[in-house]
Symmetry: C2
Subunit: 294 residues, 2 copies
């Protein structure tokens, strides 16, 4: 029997019972019986950098400040050493304004950046690649026993996913300990919220592992590299460009993690297989994420 989840390991755990993050909706099941089911909230949040409107994200709405900060950082719009003087969130008008000491002179560049971003297609790229020039991630070792333990803990942690489905999770981990577990309707928001938290708390990235429920696309790999995290692991699959970029920046990329199985397509030399996969139990059916992937 798996042990009970120790939620005290988390610095930030999901909050599946928070009332403003999901809603009870009346519906009907396959037999025509009326039912009440919970569905996740999805609301707009418009992010400003100083005076400039940058983007409107669809989010569940927790941690708007981390989301704004992380989004701007992962887009290369905030330097790592940028002095952020204030982050003002206004719930009524659904906006968050990130203010910096230096007036950002990005104006024209930003316009191009956001215009060429993959709106409506779930990905961003293009100029984002610029931020990666010369990036080489640290040669941090990762143990397969940590990955198995993390996957098991994360799958069993009470979450909005387990309550409502239709949401993605991203977890910042250190060795076999999950630290910060963010969920969001946009899978990139979950990553950006982790990035915003790391920036706020000035957290080291070199000894961390990022675990995501989403696919390992180019954008997910770019964001992880922008955050300086050397290991990215997922239940889901890969895209060819995601693999290419991971190899280029020296990111250890592990996907299709299910029970004892996984595939490593980049940075395999830093992965220490310290446990026999046969010792890992099959994934219990109820912990499987059964929706489409993405």
């Amino acid at each position: 029997m798996p042990s009970k989840i120790d939620l005290s390991e988390y610095i930030i755990a999901p909050h599946p019972t928070r009332e403003d993050l999901s809603r009870a909706v009346q519906g009907w099941d396959q037999t025509g019986q009326p039912i009440v089911t919970h569905v996740v909230e999805e609301r707009p949040l418009t992010i400003f950098l100083n005076k400039r409107e940058i983007v409107t994200a669809m989010t569940i709405g927790d941690y708007p400040e981390y989301l704004a900060l992380g989004f701007l950082r992962n887009q290369g719009m905030l330097a790592l050493d940028e002095e952020v003087t204030a982050i003002d969130f206004d719930a009524d008008i659904e906006t968050v304004v990130v203010r910096t000491m230096r007036e950002t002179d990005f104006e024209d560049k930003l316009r191009k950046k956001t215009r060429t971003s993959g709106c409506a297609v779930g990905t961003v790229f293009g100029d984002m690649m610029e931020g990666l020039e010369g990036v080489q991630l640290p040669e941090t070792e990762v143990r397969s026993s940590w990955l198995y333990t993390l996957a098991d803990k994360i799958n069993r942690t009470p979450s909005l996913y387990l309550e409502t489905g239709a949401i993605h999770g991203t977890v910042l981990c250190k060795k076999d300990r999950p630290l910060v577990y963010m969920e969001d309707v946009g899978r990139h928001n979950a990553v950006d919220k982790v990035a915003g938290w790391m920036m706020s708390e000035r957290v080291q990235a070199a000894d961390k592992i990022l675990y995501t429920t989403g696919r390992l696309t180019s954008e997910m790999v770019i964001k992880t590299a922008m955050m300086g995290i050397p290991v990215l692991a997922s239940r889901s699959g890969f895209t060819a460009w995601g693999v290419e970029i991971a190899q280029q920046v020296g990111l250890t990329l592990i996907g299709r993690m299910r029970g004892q199985r996984f595939v490593c397509l980049s940075g395999n030399d830093r992965l220490i297989r310290d446990i026999d996969p046969a010792a890992i139990p099959q994934e219990p059916k109820k912990h499987r994420r059964k929706g489409a992937h993405g």
Copy 2:
């Protein structure tokens, strides 16, 4: 035993063996054994409307013309009766230009639209809601037996998903027959490609059903309504705003379809339960989409 899939039912079926859509990559499995695995391609496509650059989408790259046309239509940038004079795709510079008879006068509006779109977060909204004002979808009946048959056929149809994972599918259907099955790394691209095909072929929407592997977010519901399709079904779950918009425009919204189970959260009065769910076999394990949901 389920019968063999009749691919001749499809007007467009997936092409899992097309060489330019996936790539063999060298990797390592959990035991450290070298393996070769297939991963899906992901490449940029920049869409122009006449002289204006609109967006760069990340796509597997099949059907760039349908993607461009459907994207512009679903964004409300092309009226239903807009006369498209040419669609020019240039593979070398990864662009597609949609030309219209009337010079579009959207210029300033478009700039706002794309700037406020949910780049990097997988959703678009805001001005898109404008296109929905006054939309009321036709009162088309849908039978539960069709939905079960469609889900079974679609799950068993050879696809890039079954080959490589990490890809979404959207299928245009009529009664229990799947007609056009599009796949893409961006789940919205798959829908947009269906929309582009419908526009090109001047296909009636009122008698169609749209099936998607992705979540039923606000954006997915808005796109389906923009296409005039009265029924949207998915394996995945719902967001609250997706449900709200579906109720507003009269869309029949069915989610969490797995084996004999499903949930209807909008338009239940048009859903005829003509088969006993107990007669439907459990979903075979190998047809489950096991990644995270997206």
